[in-house]
Point group: C2
Amino acid sequence: MSQKNFTSVKGCGTAVSCQDCSLSSLCLPLSLHEQDIDRLDAIIKRGRPYQKGQTIWRQGEDFHSVLALRSGSVKSFITSPSGEEQIVGFHFAGEIIGLNGLFNKKYPITTVALETTTCCDIPYDSLDALADDLPELRDQLLQSMSQEISEDQQMMLLLSKKTSEQRLATFLVSVSERFQRRGYSATRFRLTMSRNDLGNFLGLAVETISRIFSKFQQKELLRFLDSSRDIELLDMAKLYELADLQDTQTTPCGKKIAG
Amino acid sequence: MSQKNFTSVKGCGTAVSCQDCSLSSLCLPLSLHEQDIDRLDAIIKRGRPYQKGQTIWRQGEDFHSVLALRSGSVKSFITSPSGEEQIVGFHFAGEIIGLNGLFNKKYPITTVALETTTCCDIPYDSLDALADDLPELRDQLLQSMSQEISEDQQMMLLLSKKTSEQRLATFLVSVSERFQRRGYSATRFRLTMSRNDLGNFLGLAVETISRIFSKFQQKELLRFLDSSRDIELLDMAKLYELADLQDTQTTPCGKKIAG
DNA sequence: CGAACTTTTGACAGGCTTCAAGACCGGTGG
DNA sequence: CCACCGGTCTTGAAGCCTGTCAAAAGTTCG
């Protein structure tokens, strides 16, 4: 099964500068002046891609930089002392991850690539220094984190109050909105995470995820294309109704594009 | 039933400046110079106390300021379109609330006093201006939010993976640590929230909360003093074991003192 | 092509919710 | 001071949603 186009990022090759990157409007929605963007551009390191399953950073590791995802997708999870794992978010191209390593200067989560993933590495020391001069950048960082808090709290509501059907509907609608905002189809996309990951994230067993997907197909709310990972949403209205979503500004089930 | 001493805050009357406030080491853990504290002090407004049940701000309201709680306690919750409410945190004296209103310039949560509560009002415009000059203050704000993200994510794990007993144990141990850090007893304190609030927060029915408390009393893990709100923890070791807590830096079930 | 993994589907069980009723508590007024 | 009332808390019984166990079908990749 080949990677679908709508999850890949074009026009942002390894040599491209921030200013020319097609993601700049996503990962740099702040109103930076051209020269400021150049300064940010100067501190960014473009590393080699992470392969599927590769760990980007591990919980407890020293915090050193934040990453702007240029293509691909990742999952982040926390691990309890007894070994229980909880996925706390999926992230796609155009999103910035790792900011929550700020507290305590250690990454509080483990982040793993769900597919081949490329990203821009932004050393935090440099970012911090740059933020000294640029109030807009500071605001951007604060807002990103503020938004993440809201999203996590909506996840708390999901995990605490919603039924399995509502949870999956919420997830699908949220992901749909994120893709749409990024210019891709809102109704057809690839789920790069396994059913297992999905269940873990939504607080459900794998089997339950599978069952709800089957039920949704019977109800003709959605269907799968070539594989069980390529999905088409057929009845957005019903899905939205099921989801009982807060508003269009923040959604649970992973972070939207900052800003 | 009179208010227990260990939840009240002494030496921080209405006329006291930040510098002399007994909470300064809690709500101002940042390494501000004396003159900087004076500047912060100057922008803080000390309003009249909120009564039990009174709303401090409502979800969707325009964001204008953050609050430093000087005494009392509050609960914060989000409301879904269908009216479902989810408590996302309890806050006690020495904690700063409202920072997550930053994103979108609206409060994403409703906050209500659980008892008579006094607080310092910090207008965000002033705080923002002050942060321009004080890198330490900026770091403090970022770290507070970063910490809250970690705590919310541990709540996700709790809601997604833990049993009812583990949830309640986690809550008790977390609250205990927060009180201890503030200099109060780690084993005897007053639960200012109702069983209903507790259940809502932990994703359990009121009846379940009640049943687990009974079970914990049978097991002699804890006992209640005069009322069902005044608790004494008898077996911290067992409670910790049950809780399966991440580490001592961040705990779910509400925010610790920032810093 | 085969091994390992993922996904689906069925049967059953269990933890928690729901429903119901009674006990307890805290505040009010006679 | 005490009786009363509304709300909170506790306890029991029954039911359901979701998890667990098991097995088969589908998918991926060397």
